[in-house]
């Protein structure tokens, strides 16, 4: 290949990648930019890519006279409780699977299998059982449901991380006088920090973004942000600006977390696929 050909190949490569990047950024850019547009620019032909003026009125209208702040808080509280519970309980369980090999291969696979269950199979029993337990429309029931599902994911990922930490370290700690739990908390967990960060981030994200169970199990008190946004389609199909403002709040927290922690995230996501 001549130098010239190599040069052209490189240009084609970069142009193709630039177009791909543009496609992947465009919808996100659209949410943000529309949330700042004046109403007549939401829909026009040709579409408005760069607004002629910026306004925060969509954001103001979104929070005025509606429960949006309350729903945001619900999402946040549920996500935090879920993440803490899933990662806490799941790490303990993962340690047990990795070190003591309880249940052998079968228990580990059974737990992983739960992660794959379709949520729809659970919406009817959850709805009925939540009513019976008087937990319908509470943040608690959402946190419980989410934890149940995310546990299997946490166990699966953390088990892999614990496998990589040599058993000798546990034993050294215990010889030095630690109990098993002490060794786990003081020695092993700090070493598994990348795994903990990745799984916490993913649990938070799954909880923040979750829609179906929140739709089924909440109505006014515990409604979360995704359910509110989903409601924009049926009740208020014309309030695109507010919808995008709400959408920004849906995206930004996760975006910030991903950008700051992406090293851990990539490791966590690809971990299950390669050794």
């Amino acid at each position: 290949m001549t130098r010239g050909e190599k040069h052209i190949n490189k240009i084609i490569l970069y142009v193709t990648l630039a177009i791909i990047m543009l496609i992947f950024i465009m919808p996100i850019y659209w949410v943000f930019v529309t949330s700042l547009k004046i109403p007549k620019e939401y829909f026009s032909s040709p579409p408005v890519y760069l607004p002629s003026e910026i306004t925060f009125s969509s954001y103001i209208k979104l929070f005025q006279g509606s429960q949006t702040l309350h729903h945001l808080l619900n999402s946040l509280i549920v996500a935090l409780i879920t993440t803490a519970a899933s990662v806490g309980i799941g790490s303990l369980g993962a340690y047990s699977l990795a070190r003591f090999k309880i249940g052998g291969k079968y228990l580990a696979f059974a737990i992983l299998g739960i992660y794959m269950f379709p949520p729809v199979t659970f919406i009817l029993p959850f709805f009925i059982l939540a009513q019976k337990l008087h937990l319908y429309d509470t943040r608690l029931i959402l946190a419980i449901v989410y934890t149940g599902f995310f546990l299997s994911f946490v166990v699966w990922i953390m088990r892999g991380f614990f496998y990589e930490i040599p058993k000798e370290l546990d034993e050294a700690a215990m010889i030095d006088g630690c109990s098993r739990i002490g060794a786990f908390l003081k020695v092993i967990l700090p070493l598994a920090k990348p795994g903990l960060v990745a799984t916490s981030l993913i649990c938070f994200m799954f909880s923040w973004n979750e829609f179906l169970f929140a739709l089924i199990l909440t109505s006014t008190n515990a409604k979360t942000l995704p359910v509110e946004l989903g409601g924009f389609i049926t009740d208020k199909a014309l309030l695109w600006g507010q919808m995008c403002a709400g959408g920004s709040f849906a995206i930004i927290p996760i975006l910030v977390l991903i950008l700051f922690l992406q090293k851990y995230l990539v490791r966590g996501l690809t971990f299950g696929a390669i050794k």
Partner: protein, 299 residues
């Protein structure tokens, strides 16, 4: 240290106690939150339970028999399979192509990865909502781009022919990055020697890819494709916000149909039965995954 037999017995009993203590919370939680409701739902499939009834009424296997004559269910099954297969193939091809391109790069790789991770973290509800704007036949960005390139943009969400492709594209937008990341990670972890040896032997790029690259990457590609396939079958959020299952039932893929049966038509017993059909499909895919997992990947 010499322990008496009694002391040894006590210590090993304590050991086992601790071992179980670590996993007990997980098992209890899974039993209460997953196993019990699943069993409850399974019992529901043998009952009729709709509005106006105080409690479920036992009807044996009637719900299961109804599955076969439910054309709308079969339609949703068909749509689900079409949706899954097309999305999967396209996500794989685009992800593979992008990974091969980026693998060759030295600078700028981490920026590209940072950008590509983002769609996966966007709330699926928002994905549906924003694509709803982008798909507007007259004012949407998609048709604007198409007309600029010289094509005529279809009606997208208003068209029974184009609604499902619209849904598929929105999923491709969101999840191709996952395939991309996994394949890229795999490519970067491949050993250099086979490729250098092949180059010396005069192999072409295609041969190197086909005979060395692909076989080595196969395990992780299979895993991620199977996981993606299961997620595609379960898809709900984007259907709800992008198309609402429509127009008509043109995008009523399985999970959405179950939701409709249970929460719009309030046929709880029958809805549970349909949901177990979805579970069955997922179980089949999981079974395949578990079969190939131990042999292909070291755990």
């Amino acid at each position: 240290m010499n322990l008496t037999p009694v002391k040894e017995k006590i210590i090993s009993k304590q050991k086992r106690y601790i071992h179980i203590l670590f996993i007990a919370p997980t098992l209890i939680a899974i039993f209460l939150i997953i196993i019990y409701p699943l069993f409850y739902s399974f019992l529901l499939t043998f009952h009729k339970f709709t509005i106006g009834m105080d409690s479920p009424r036992y009807i044996g296997l009637r719900n299961y028999v109804s599955l076969f004559s439910d054309t709308r269910l079969l339609h949703s099954l068909y749509l689900g399979i079409v949706f899954t297969c097309i999305a999967l193939v396209l996500e794989f091809l685009i992800g593979l192509g992008s990974a091969l391109l980026v693998d060759k790069m030295i600078r700028g790789r981490s920026i590209i990865i940072s950008i590509l991770i983002i769609p996966m973290g966007v709330m699926p509800v928002v994905v549906g909502l924003v694509w709803r704007m982008l798909y507007h036949p007259n004012y949407g960005v998609v048709n604007h781009v198409l007309t600029t390139l010289g094509f005529e943009g279809p009606q997208w969400l208003a068209s029974t022919r184009w609604a499902l492709p619209a849904l598929i594209l929105s999923d491709i937008w969101q999840w191709t990055p996952l395939i991309f990341l996994v394949i890229l990670a795999g490519l970067q972890s491949l050993p250099k020697e086979p490729f250098e040896a092949a180059k010396i032997d005069g192999a072409s790029s295609w041969q190197m890819f086909h005979q060395i690259c692909f076989p080595l990457l196969r395990p992780m590609i299979l895993v991620v494709l199977l996981l993606r396939a299961m997620d595609l079958i379960k898809e709900f959020d984007k259907v709800y916000t992008l198309t609402g299952g429509g127009p008509g039932s043109a995008t009523e893929i399985m999970s959405y149909y179950v939701y409709r049966v249970g929460f719009k038509y309030f046929k709880i017993g029958y809805g549970a039965t349909c949901s177990f059909l979805v579970l069955f499909l997922i179980a089949v895919l999981s079974f395949i995954l578990i079969k190939i997992l131990p042999s292909e990947v070291e755990l």
